[in-house]
């Protein structure tokens, strides 16, 4: 453990970004879980990988340094994630593909295309593998600052809009009937989801992003009796898994993202048992 504490001085931007993105994704993930759009979380994360792959392949083809800059890579990652979230928010309709079908298409396309785009670029392929593998290492202080700002903004918005958001998730028809601007709310959250997932993906990769997006909210949902406490409980669950996850990973010399996600999976099993016992009582 003391070794882990010593490593903070070297890896604090990575640890910090990992913890803050865990809390941020857990908070936004409540909406994803509440609207039964769990697979959307995977598709949005995967789409931002495609955005990053596009930036890298643009750089490889044009040989322009700006194309592979942090700004362009982050911009395309966020743009791809936002586009996916918006397409899914639009949903299906008569004569159109269902929202679920669209999400599946985006996920599969975004999972295949990056490898094809970067098949002849060893550096690009390595980056895509890093994102898929979720290394968490390599975050910069600016990443931590951006994620912290996103967390604060999300927490403030969630606190202010909690009841309209919860009512929209629980009973969208009634929310509209009571004057909640449902469409604007759904599109706004979709855009914000895309921005946050796009940022988090660059720092923490696919597995960690998707895991922190859905697992803490699923755990919190089983433990809480009401919806409002989920707003603090889901981030608390995420941090309770991420912090020991990083420490254990350091001690055992294994990847921290995988360790954290495994702990979250274990927490969900415990939450299932607790919830079951409560129902039986």
């Amino acid at each position: 453990m003391s070794d882990f504490l010593i490593s903070w001085s070297l890896f604090w931007p990575s640890y910090g970004a990992g913890l803050v993105s865990a809390a941020l994704l857990a908070l936004i993930g409540i909406w994803v879980v509440a609207r039964r759009e769990i697979f959307l979380g995977a598709a949005v994360s995967q789409a931002s990988t495609l955005g990053i792959a596009l930036a890298l392949s643009l750089g490889a083809w044009s040989e322009a340094a700006w194309a592979e800059s942090e700004g362009v890579t982050a911009g395309l990652a966020v743009a791809a994630a936002v586009a996916t979230a918006l397409v899914s928010a639009r949903g299906g309709g008569h004569g159109r593909e269902s929202g679920e079908g669209l999400v599946a298409w985006i996920f599969l396309f975004a999972a295949s295309a990056p490898t094809l785009l970067l098949a002849r670029s060893p550096h690009g392929l390595e980056e895509i593998h890093r994102l898929s593998f979720s290394t968490l290492l390599g975050a910069q202080p600016v990443d931590l600052a951006l994620l912290a700002a996103a967390l604060l903004a999300s927490a403030a918005a969630a606190w202010r809009l909690r009841d309209p958001l919860l009512l929209t998730a629980l009973d969208p028809e009634t929310a509209s009937a009571l004057g909640v601007p449902r469409r604007r709310l759904v599109v706004g959250v979709a855009v914000w989801l895309g921005i946050c997932v796009g940022f988090a993906m660059r720092v923490s990769g696919m597995l960690y992003t998707f895991g922190c997006l859905v697992l803490p909210a699923l755990v919190a949902r089983r433990l809480a009796r009401e919806s409002r406490p989920l707003l603090w409980l889901a981030p608390a669950v995420a941090l309770s898994a991420a912090l020991p996850g990083f420490a254990l990973a350091h001690t055992l010399d294994v990847p921290p993202a995988q360790m954290t996600v495994t702990l979250l999976c274990a927490a969900l099993v415990v939450a299932w048992v607790v919830s079951r016992k409560r129902v039986e009582r």
Partner: protein, 238 residues
């Protein structure tokens, strides 16, 4: 003196895209009236409801809403039970509290409004219960409490008796009747069931073949249009 009109439709056509589900709707809902909207599935009841609630724009014609209802703060709405998602944990109290979203009830009175609404539907003792541990009838009463907590002037219920047993159905209709009489609440009940219109409502809107025949209960239910609709088996007989 005639009561104030809350909603007035004149030559109204409503639908989706270019397709009109309802045409030439002439209807005026006045303060204190008890309306039943009856018609078969797909006859346009929900479409007109969406139009009244501002969720659907008229294709043609005019739809006027009383200015004080325009922000929806004094409208209570009870959806079909199937609309409620079980994706989040929710107690009865929280469900009712969520009904205060964009309501006109002052913040200082909200806790009392929740208690009153729960007591009104007989669920005060079940406030801490999970909504999904309730029976169908109890859940319907919880949804009614969520609508009442707004202290509405207009209460809209979409198929409120669907799936309820006879006793629960009667109790719910009794509660609605009492609300109408004592609180002078304006009620719109959307239903398949003719007996609700016959026994409870003072006004009826009959949805047949894309048209709405609206007026006082006796005028509508004794007319030939109503007989044709029921004879065709398109509505549920009592």
């Amino acid at each position: 003196m005639e009561a104030e009109a809350l909603f007035t439709a004149r030559g109204l056509a409503l639908g989706y895209g270019e397709h009109a589900v309802l045409r030439d709707v002439e209807l005026s809902v006045r303060s204190g009236e008890f309306w039943c909207w009856i018609g078969p599935n797909g006859s346009g009841k929900s479409t007109l409801l969406r139009g009244f609630l501002g969720l659907l724009s008229p294709l043609t014609g005019e739809l006027r809403v009383a200015p004080r209802l325009a922000d929806h703060a004094r409208i209570g709405y009870v959806p079909q039970r199937s609309e409620l998602s079980d994706a989040l944990p929710t107690t009865v109290r929280e469900l009712v509290e969520l009904g205060l979203v964009r309501s006109a009830v002052p913040r200082a009175e909200r806790a009392a409004a929740v208690r009153e609404a729960l007591a009104h539907v007989g669920l005060a003792e079940m406030a801490a219960r999970d909504v999904w541990s309730l029976s169908g009838g109890q859940r319907q009463r919880a949804l009614l409490a969520r609508a009442l907590v707004r202290r509405p002037e207009l209460l809209v219920l979409d198929e409120p008796t669907e799936g309820l047993d006879v006793a629960t159905n009667d109790a719910l209709l009794e509660t609605l009747g009492a609300l109408h009489r004592k609180a002078s609440l304006t009620l719109i009940v959307v239903t398949h069931r003719l007996e609700i219109a016959r026994e409870r409502a003072d006004h009826v809107a009959l949805f047949v073949d894309g048209r709405v025949i609206a007026g006082t209960r006796d005028a509508v239910l004794t007319g030939g249009d109503a007989e044709r609709a029921f004879a065709g088996g398109r509505l549920a007989l009592p």
